[in-house]
Symmetry: D2
Amino acid sequence: MSQGSTATGAVLTAADSVAYLGPQGTFTEVAMRAMPSVGDAQAVPMTSVDAVLDAVRRGDVAAGVVPIENSLEGPVTTTLDALARRDSQLVITQEWAIPVRFSLLVRPGVSLSEIRQVASIPIAAAQCRGWLSENLPDAHVLAALSTASAAQRLGTENPPPYDAAISPAVAAQHYGLEVLADDIGDNSAASTRFVQVRRPGPPPPRTGADKTTLMLFMREDHAGALMEILTEFAVRGVNLTNIESRPTRKQLGDYYFAIDCEGHVADARVGEALTGLRRVCAEVRYLGSYPRHDGKQPHARPGTADEDFANAAAWLAQIRSGA
Amino acid sequence: MSQGSTATGAVLTAADSVAYLGPQGTFTEVAMRAMPSVGDAQAVPMTSVDAVLDAVRRGDVAAGVVPIENSLEGPVTTTLDALARRDSQLVITQEWAIPVRFSLLVRPGVSLSEIRQVASIPIAAAQCRGWLSENLPDAHVLAALSTASAAQRLGTENPPPYDAAISPAVAAQHYGLEVLADDIGDNSAASTRFVQVRRPGPPPPRTGADKTTLMLFMREDHAGALMEILTEFAVRGVNLTNIESRPTRKQLGDYYFAIDCEGHVADARVGEALTGLRRVCAEVRYLGSYPRHDGKQPHARPGTADEDFANAAAWLAQIRSGA
Amino acid sequence: MSQGSTATGAVLTAADSVAYLGPQGTFTEVAMRAMPSVGDAQAVPMTSVDAVLDAVRRGDVAAGVVPIENSLEGPVTTTLDALARRDSQLVITQEWAIPVRFSLLVRPGVSLSEIRQVASIPIAAAQCRGWLSENLPDAHVLAALSTASAAQRLGTENPPPYDAAISPAVAAQHYGLEVLADDIGDNSAASTRFVQVRRPGPPPPRTGADKTTLMLFMREDHAGALMEILTEFAVRGVNLTNIESRPTRKQLGDYYFAIDCEGHVADARVGEALTGLRRVCAEVRYLGSYPRHDGKQPHARPGTADEDFANAAAWLAQIRSGA
Amino acid sequence: MSQGSTATGAVLTAADSVAYLGPQGTFTEVAMRAMPSVGDAQAVPMTSVDAVLDAVRRGDVAAGVVPIENSLEGPVTTTLDALARRDSQLVITQEWAIPVRFSLLVRPGVSLSEIRQVASIPIAAAQCRGWLSENLPDAHVLAALSTASAAQRLGTENPPPYDAAISPAVAAQHYGLEVLADDIGDNSAASTRFVQVRRPGPPPPRTGADKTTLMLFMREDHAGALMEILTEFAVRGVNLTNIESRPTRKQLGDYYFAIDCEGHVADARVGEALTGLRRVCAEVRYLGSYPRHDGKQPHARPGTADEDFANAAAWLAQIRSGA
């Protein structure tokens, strides 16, 4: 299979496959289809984040799409921890964010008064609590593996295991359901971020509005460790956009840091920060540079452009030679 | 009801109630029963983290116990975000960690070869993947709201909705089940941390091995914000044990920091750090000081004991008066 | 003698004496006479910085005026080191800066062509090198103890020991000399800063544009010591205006830091910074708070006003009490 | 003349000349003769620090030796400011420290009871105050341009202009004088540091115990400027051994920092720190890398050796290529 040689940022073709956290109708599918680099690739739903990532690692697919932040379809931490694994060997090549908009799906013809049981993932149910308590105060909420699987079982099992599903509206058409109520979430501004991962290769080219994801493992749990890490970024003018301390699973209290920073690994300031981190951390796992979903340009501090680094290096060479 | 006046660290009595994330048989129940300050209180299982917290806020119960880190029974983030809410008004008064040990529960007499469907929460299933693929390669995994609810439905519904549940062993006795296999998790060192929350009041007394939890909301998303925050701790010799950046839910990219630090709010160094944070953050939510579950003493830097602060204050007063 | 009880910032009266680095006609005298708090005090010239400081310590005079920065009449370091001595016990109560303007003084009737020998202190001669090489290329420069003493000996000894003195113009009238050339320095923007010192007492009241001088002795010569010190200032929003590392005279490489910072010891942010320094340094010597000579208001960071500190303290008290 | 091509660290030969702050018999001469790289060079005394430096700049001599720290023969600041000048173009190639030991020199046969007038530089007189007040309480102290010039005039002028000179003992043999009392300073541990300067060229080779001197000019006088500078050093594990803030002479309050740090410009950590400074400062003046006078090895933090930098750079190259 030729997919192993695909450059990490390249637009996929109809000859490629892309796995995603399914089943059909998830927010992940919505995000995947919106990603420019997915192109005409064939979409393959999978049942878990791990299944998606494994398919990419094995080379069964050219890329995989999974939720990574504020996810409603599985905790972010599953994705972070899976990507942080020593043997993960995957890089992020694109991110995408979509607004989260829940709908109440039913079999055609079912009315609100007939609904006794509603299925969804617990978090989705929690985010629709206001609407549910007002419109379905007596309904019982059942657990599902994902929002889309709640729709899937409702549409495909006979008899249906429950009366309604909280799900993205797009799932209705996949499973022959109707949207009985739309946008029923309490917080209409919620959004979720998804990432596309591939096997390692040259990063996508710089766009000027890029992001780089790193996993930093500490040498020991000393007090100043986080300050030390942040200073490595700050001194080169690299801003962070996200930071999580995550247990390494060896024992409670042993942490790694999952960090997103502004800029591309090809940027001089990001590169020098990475070498600095490499020198102070027990391990630095590079998870890829890729365009920001919001296209936001970094506010680079004066003196941190590639040209500034090049000028300083030329000056140093001159001093060292005594010329 | 007299429960509103209970001092936050006081040991509860048989006249008090404590809510916990149920149903009966969860790891949360195991942790709750191990907490010294729960005493003889009557345990009340609830169906969600939010339900537990609401019961405490309303004063229906004196305290509540919920998972907060590396949880298998609901994402940590649910608890963090619920406690970070502007109107939350709860404080943590105790933490407890227990090893996570999964068992495979069945109805009495059921053998391994009869199992077609296994229920659990997705994360628990993921952590037992090794055992499952070896011993039940063909079984289908169903979603449950919690590990204990998987056991509960198996023991109480007729006919049982599936053949086995991945659950804490303790759930077996609650629901008349048998432990068919014990300690089936892939990572036997996993542990989970739980917290007990109460309505605000005087904090539990200092033990010398305490922890303080804070939620820090930034004035704006400027690059140096996190460095600024960490410096407020570091300059007073206060070590952090955990940090999470969490979206405020207004939009992706707006964060608050959930932070655990060593020490008690009554410690001079912690108190001064808190006032410093109060001056640089848009808002500081204090979520309580309480004994560390591991009893680990902080490595306080020289010059940061209460006595050092008192001496310095006396010296300053003398300088200011010109005496 | 009533001078011991004079409040440190009080305006002196005709009943008080103020010592200064003489003899009559030095830049120090010019600065002393310009200081508002000197009032009508009787001026007493002394022959060295040490003599001035000793007179103040003994209570022979109410105050003393000496150069402290970019001095032409004795190295700054003499003053700094004298004030840093463990037994110094003096505080700065006022600073003043004056432009440095050199003149060539001669006995009445002497013309340029008659000048063979010019006396001054080496630094003053160096700063007038341009004028001298153009106008007196063949003259020999002799060393004097101070610019004014060069004038004094020229006016009072018979026969005069040399033909001309480089000196402040004001010295001419003291010693019966004439100004043959004015403003002969190469750098007309040069200025010198002087301080008035008194025995300890309540500091002068806050003006909103104040400065505080400190001597900080390190516990040991570890690498991060200076960073640590600067952080204590920075975290409370206190800006530095000057810093010198000075040997402690025990051995080369053992340093103390002489630091000027913005603000008054009565300011909450300065007070807290001082207590922080007191906790991390081997010793903090407080050398006084006093109005800035340039009246420049500090650019205080938001959150560092007295009110912000008071609000944060009130909030902390509330948290600690659990109210 | 071939002296322009001398490598900066090379040992001079009898064909070379080295200028020093004279006259004969100064502590500077003592230090110069002790410096290994001076070799058999011909020593040329000069009358001022500026004269020494100018002679080196012009190529009249191969090297110059001047005092730079805690000097008794002219303020340190003279040397620092002269080396900081934009057009200075000199580098330090060696430093040397010697104990400061004052003697009282007289013409042969003169006894203590005959001494009425003693000449020296004011600082030397100040440091011998204890001995003078005990042994020559009534003697008058006269100013000299340097300790050695005090001896020179005493030995060479007729009649002698005063009765005794405070001077290094070595000056006695130069000017036909006798040492009447030795080691008369109050602080017998005092020492002074001297530097040898040459025109720019390849720095002396690394010894493993080196020092680098820099002059850092700030872009503007903002509060955090010094923190910023120190962080550039700290993040690469480069320790400072000295720091002075010096006015730029444009106006009071405009500063540059004269900094000595551990390590050699050829060290990876020093090189990267220099490029970082170059990017944040308005100007960085490199004043040379040279062996420490005390041979003290730096305590380099783990991860800051040349090998660590090389490994990190190789790792970055691999990431960037996607290999």
